[in-house]
């Protein structure tokens, strides 16, 4: 399978950005964005979809972390 060309990459990124914008507007409710999701899935290779989903999770986690939603535990954890 040949690698995506520049045009195909940009199409994929565009679809991804649309999908992510929808998720932002609907507070991560994927059921509201089904159409964009299928458009995203048809524009990008499967591996990239998995990769972008993980990236989305990471970016959301980073936002929460930077907003201070995770408190360090008071007692030192024994591992």
């Amino acid at each position: 399978m040949a690698a995506p060309s520049m045009k195909e990459r940009q199409a994929c990124w565009g679809a991804r950005d649309e999908y992510w914008k929808c998720l932002d507007e609907n507070t991560e409710d994927a059921s509201q964005c089904k159409k964009l999701r299928s458009s995203f899935e048809s524009s990008c290779p499967q591996q990239w979809i998995k990769y972008f989903d993980k990236r989305r999770d990471y970016l959301k986690f980073k936002e929460k972390f930077e907003a201070g939603q995770f408190q360090p535990s008071k007692t030192p954890a024994k591992s």
Partner: protein, 266 residues
């Protein structure tokens, strides 16, 4: 006999001066001789005893200062010589590294064999990635190309050679590389090779890479360290730039290196 009588007296007079030390210094001998003469006049010149015993404070200070200056000068000369020797050793080590280290044997995207010596005399910006990369490699290559373009726009600067080396030799054939690099810059050179050749060049440049699990399409993502490497015209690793550096920052840094560059190769 008389001399023996005189000598203790003279010795006694001179003892506060520590004569052996005095004799070492240029003025010391003259002083010693002067006081010998004075002591020979001894008994008839008792009034002389009220004269100050040693050379004046200023004279002693001057002698010490001259001696100190001599020592200081010798120390500075030795230090300069050591520094020069250290520089020569460093230059020699760099010369050996320029020839031996970081060498590679790869195919460019036109199918031509290339090694590091081919780029001698040129500044090189090198990036390791793979063509199936979702976003990072295209972004970094775009940034690299922007750096090259910024520097191209400045008159008087030598052209920089952008190079893209694959960490996915299995899929990134010469044809795949040719398709990929054309989207970025006409001078962007893609390099690929056998698995061993890619492993060797990655080792030389301390690049980590690891192919991930394959999915149903036999597609996979290669995890790899992300950096743009700058090589000097001597072929020596000069600097590297991570994701956080902007194209402008990289261009500024390359410009600095260009200004400071002195070749170690003949």
């Amino acid at each position: 006999m008389l001399l023996l009588v005189w000598t203790p007296k003279a010795w006694h007079r001179l003892s506060p001066l520590k004569p052996p030390a005095l004799l070492w210094t240029p003025g010391g001998e003259a002083l010693h001789v002067r006081y010998r003469l004075m002591s020979r006049q001894g008994p008839g010149e008792a009034s002389r005893q009220s004269q100050p015993q040693g050379p004046g404070f200023r004279t002693r200070l001057l002698i010490t200062a001259l001696f100190g200056a001599g020592l200081g000068g010798a120390w500075l000369a030795a230090r300069a010589e050591k520094e020069q020797r250290r520089q020569q050793q460093r230059t020699e080590a760099l010369r050996q590294a320029a020839v031996g280290q970081g060498d590679f044997s790869l195919l460019d995207h036109r199918g031509q064999a290339r090694c590091k010596a081919d780029f001698r005399g040129h500044w090189v910006l090198m990036y390791f990635g793979f063509t199936h990369c979702p976003d990072i490699c295209p972004d970094e290559l775009e940034k690299l190309v922007q750096v090259v373009q910024k520097l191209e726009a400045e008159p008087g600067l030598p052209p920089v050679q952008p190079i893209f080396i694959t960490v996915d030799p299995e899929r990134d054939t010469v044809a795949a590389m040719a398709r990929y690099v054309q989207d970025f810059h006409p001078r962007l050179l893609g390099l690929t090779g056998s698995a061993e050749q890619v492993a060797q060049v990655s080792r030389s440049y301390r690049v980590y890479y690891s192919a991930g699990p394959k999915d149903d399409d036999q597609d996979y993502i290669v995890d790899h360290s992300i950096a743009i490497y700058l090589l000097s015209p001597d072929g020596l690793f000069t600097d590297y730039y991570g994701r956080a550096k902007s194209a402008q920052q990289i261009a500024d840094s390359v410009r600095c290196h260009m200004a400071a560059f002195r070749s170690v190769l003949r």
